[in-house]
């Protein structure tokens, strides 16, 4: 189902061709990172800390090195010391010193699973045995596991270099404080008839990609190295590995393998530079693959958070003021997505008075990484729950309440700049008119909830090349890793501009030596920005086609027209060449045609989505069953609607998992207790109904096709929508994620006994 406001017409874009890489994927021929092997290859394994917080007093590797088959062992002491400053990396700013210390700990370990040493051996079993023979003497320190504990005066300090300059230059676990302010908040609340204030907590959760991190590296004796790995950003792996290894970027080639999921978690490096170091030390290629436990313990989950949210409105439903305090777990090193959380939490609304204070807080948990609209899901859980309550208080339909306060073109964003054309109102209208929202929900213990979400999307840099073949077909070369139909989408953009079939374009994802620079496949940027680069490359090829026809027909290039794959010139119907016919003339008119496109996209259309969920709560077990769920999303213009719908469904499924079950469970010593997928409970197809989708198309200004990013925003609203549905089914406002059966059961028990408080409702 599509609700389109796009005036442009397309012939290929918007259709649903079979994906070009489909056959290889479904037949198992596609090569993933773990499929790569080289002659004489060694296998690497990591020794990881059993403690959440400890000082490393000594590391003895003698026994491990003596084990037959062990070829090299490295520790943090083998890695260069890097500057304690920010650099541009995979997912944006990266502190190189922290990155290197996260790869291999130096004087302290900062979380359960922090890597301490790495071994290369002739096979993985010997490497694992050698890891067990490494002796580390630790001085165990008290772990700090929550933002509340980390922010208390006298809390154990993770990084003594971190200073709080707002409070007298003291040691601190607060890595940064941001504030956004508009209007006069106290005055604003005075004009409110209803004010809701609650504290919310959301659990640390993992991206949950099925394919563990992996990589093969060979350090060439000529100084030129190659890395094969599963990544969302081959150029980011190149930059970060080069920085850690202290070699020029141009000395490293990264070959991106097919990727078995990333969702933001594969924008940085964990193994690749270590494999490179081991290869340098041994002179042989080294392969490293994480176990599931390694992935859960030591790679980027997203932050758990505490959010205090207060919003007020008038009795006729006009929002007047918001006051928000939010603290996100950064993990062991600074860099939680709290800034994005702050800038998204009330982004859908026009609220005249607001203040938001946001804190990035170190805790003894793994360094967090990006996860699909990083920071926004936590934030929306708080704000969208309160918006729902305010709508209830006012007796206004929750969609109508949002429409009364909806951000539109010209509304100031949280950080200040005004929105350009956005599709929030259209998204709400599409939800209101959806079959799901129009249907009746009947039966006991059932409730319906809606919520909405915002995500910026990012532009950044992409390069692309379009080659025209001698038979009138084309190939398009990109450097953006394909995580969800990228090849098909870019082939379609090429085909649209060239006026040929999508099936007549071969898409190729190239290594870092074979294509110009591309930023990561992240931030919902690839279809949009790489699409713009491909569009430009295809247009460049068309420009050259016109020049060739002009040469043949003795005309000026501007006198040549090109449409639907046919070259013509006005006033002379005898002059007509299809691209296939023209291709045969390439050699005698100047040689092969290659179009080039490079962009740094500055104008990117942000996205809004809405979720509608029906639930049934089992009164005896507190299990929440999802009866029906619909995602409505403004995508600007869908390149391939099936893959757009897939993104919407994927984000919704992950959001429901975040809502109901997923959480990192640590014991009192700071050890992760659920580091396997049996205990870290992600939803399966048995837990979810068919997820319905409604595509809304409000073209993004400044983009040649009108596309907006589609990969992230669908995850933002599901937890709040589920919470609102539970509230309507049970009368209980849940304020802690996940809303798992034990937590909801406790809240239901408290309600039955008349002891409900906010904390009790949360199941705390």
């Amino acid at each position: 189902m599509a609700a389109s406001t796009n005036g442009k017409t397309f012939k290929v874009i918007g259709t649903r061709p079979i994906r070009h890489d489909g056959l290889e994927k479904v037949t198992g021929r596609a090569k993933y990172g773990a499929d790569y092997s080289l002659p004489d290859m060694l296998h690497g394994k990591m020794l990881r800390s059993p403690y959440a917080h400890a000082r490393i007093k000594s590391i003895k590797i003698d026994k491990a090195l003596a084990l037959p088959g062990v070829k090299a062992i490295i520790t943090g002491a083998d890695l260069p010391t890097l500057p304690d400053e920010m650099a541009t990396g995979g997912e944006g700013p990266v502190n190189l010193a922290h990155l290197s210390e996260n790869l291999l700990a130096r004087d302290k370990v900062l979380y359960d699973g922090h890597a301490v040493a790495a071994v290369a051996a002739t096979n993985a079993h010997i490497a694992e045995e050698a890891v067990r023979l490494i002796e580390v003497d630790y001085e165990v320190l008290p772990p700090v596991m929550t933002v509340e504990d980390a922010m208390k005066p006298g809390a154990a300090i993770l990084n003594p270099k971190l200073r709080n300059k707002e409070e007298g230059d003291k040691e601190t676990n607060i890595a940064s404080h941001l504030q956004f302010k508009r209007g006069e908040v106290d005055e604003g609340f005075k004009s409110a008839d209803y004010v809701i204030e609650r504290e919310f907590k959301t659990a640390m959760v993992h991206q949950g990609y099925i394919e563990p991190h992996n990589g093969v590296a060979i350090f060439g004796s000529d100084g030129h190295s190659t890395i094969w790995c599963s990544t969302q950003g081959s150029f980011a792996v190149r930059a970060l590995s080069a920085a850690v290894a202290g070699v020029p970027e141009s000395n490293i080639k990264v070959v991106p393998a097919e990727i078995g999921g990333g969702f933001g978690g594969k924008l940085t490096v964990y193994l690749e530079p270590i494999a490179l170091f081991l290869s340098k030390k041994t002179g042989k290629p080294v392969k490293m693959i994480m176990s599931r436990g390694d992935v859960l313990k030591a790679t980027g989950p997203t932050s758990g958070s505490t959010i205090r949210c207060k919003i007020g409105c008038t009795k006729d439903g006009k929002l007047v003021a918001a006051k928000i305090w939010m603290a996100y777990e950064a993990g062991a090193y600074p860099g939680s997505p709290v800034g994005a959380g702050a800038m998204t939490i009330i982004a859908p609304y026009n609220i005249p008075h607001m203040i938001i204070d946001a804190y990035d807080v170190l805790v003894n948990r793994p360094k967090t990484a990006a996860y699909r609209a990083p920071g926004a899901t936590n934030a929306a859980m708080a704000s969208e729950t309160i918006i729902d309550e305010l709508a209830d208080k006012c007796g206004i339909d929750p969609i109508q309440f949002r429409l009364l306060n909806a951000a539109q073109e010209g509304t100031a964003q949280t950080a200040g700049p005004p929105y350009k054309k956005i599709g929030y109102v259209e998204t709400l209208e599409a939800l209101k008119n959806s079959p799901h929202y129009k249907s009746k929900l009947e039966g006991p213990n059932r409730g319906r909830g809606i919520a909405t979400g915002f995500w910026f999307n990012i532009g950044m840099n992409s390069s692309a090349i379009v080659h025209l073949n001698g038979d009138g077909t084309a190939s398009v070369v990109i450097g953006s890793v394909d995580v969800g139909g990228t090849r098909a989408a870019q082939a379609m953009v090429t085909a649209e501009v060239l006026g040929i079939r999508a099936e007549d374009v071969r898409p190729l994802v190239a290594d870092t030596d074979s294509i110009g620079y591309n930023d990561v496949t992240g931030g919902s940027r690839t279809a949009v920005t790489t699409g713009a680069a491909v569009f430009a490359a295809a247009e460049d090829a068309v420009r050259q086609l016109k020049e060739r026809a002009a040469k043949l027909w003795e005309k000026k290039p501007e006198e040549i027209a090109y449409a639907d794959g046919v070259l013509t010139t006005a006033g002379d119907p005898s002059k007509k060449l299809t691209i296939k016919e023209m291709a045969k003339q390439f050699a005698r008119t100047g040689g092969p045609i290659t179009g080039r496109g490079s962009v740094n996209l500055r104008t990117v259309g942000p996205s809004f989505a809405a979720t509608c969920v029906d639930v049934e709560v089992d009164p005896d077990t507190a299990k929440v069953k999802i009866l029906r769920a619909t995602c409505v999303q403004d995508v600007g213009k869908a390149l391939h609607p099936s893959y757009v719908e897939g993104q919407m469904q994927g984000g919704t499924a992950q959001g429901i998992g975040w809502a109901l079950n997923e959480e990192y469970v640590y014991d009192d010593r700071g050890n992760l207790r659920n580091f396997g997928l049996l205990d870290y409970r992600m939803p399966t197809c048995l837990d979810l109904p068919e997820l319905e989708t409604v595509i809304v198309e409000v073209p993004a200004p400044g983009h040649p096709i009108g596309s907006r990013g589609v990969g992230e925003v669908s995850i933002v609203s599901p937890p709040a929508a589920v919470a609102n549905a539970i509230a309507h089914a049970t009368g209980i406002r849940m304020v802690v994620l996940p809303m798992s059966p034990p937590r909801l059961m406790k809240a239901m028990h408290n309600k039955r006994n008349g002891t409900e408080t906010q904390a009790a409702a949360a199941g705390r």
Binding site: E85, M86, A87, T88, E91, G92, P93, V94, H177, L178, Q179, F180, K181, Q207, F263, G264, G265, L267, T302, P337, G339, A340, M343, I355, A370, Y371, R372, A373, P374, A415, G416, P417, P418, K420, W455, F456, N457, I458, G459, V483, G484, T521, G522, G523, S524, R525, T526, N600, R602, T603, V604, Q647, G709, G711, E712
Partner: protein, 88 residues
């Protein structure tokens, strides 16, 4: 003269002013003039001679390229905001 909308926590440098008028034809020159008028801005916005990677610039609703050469017009409205990455 362009207008810079000052981030909330940096308003201590401008005696609480939210909007200040600055001279400059690009982002670098705008920061130079901010520093001249309100000492302390440069340290907050620059790392060496480059914009801090954690800072993004919005000029008239368009995101900057991350460099100091982005053009600023006489009538421009300039925002310094946290840089955003992403996760898909």
């Amino acid at each position: 003269m362009a207008i810079v909308v000052v981030p909330a926590l940096l308003r201590k440098l401008t005696n609480g002013a939210e909007r200040v008028t600055v001279a400059g034809r690009n982002v670098g020159q705008v920061i130079d003039d901010l520093e001249r008028q309100f000492p302390g801005f440069r340290d907050q916005l620059l790392q060496g001679v480059e914009l801090k990677p954690s800072i993004a610039v919005s000029i008239d609703g368009e995101m900057g390229t991350g460099g100091l050469l982005d053009r600023v017009k006489e009538t421009s409205e300039v925002f310094f905001i946290p840089a955003i990455g992403g996760g898909r």
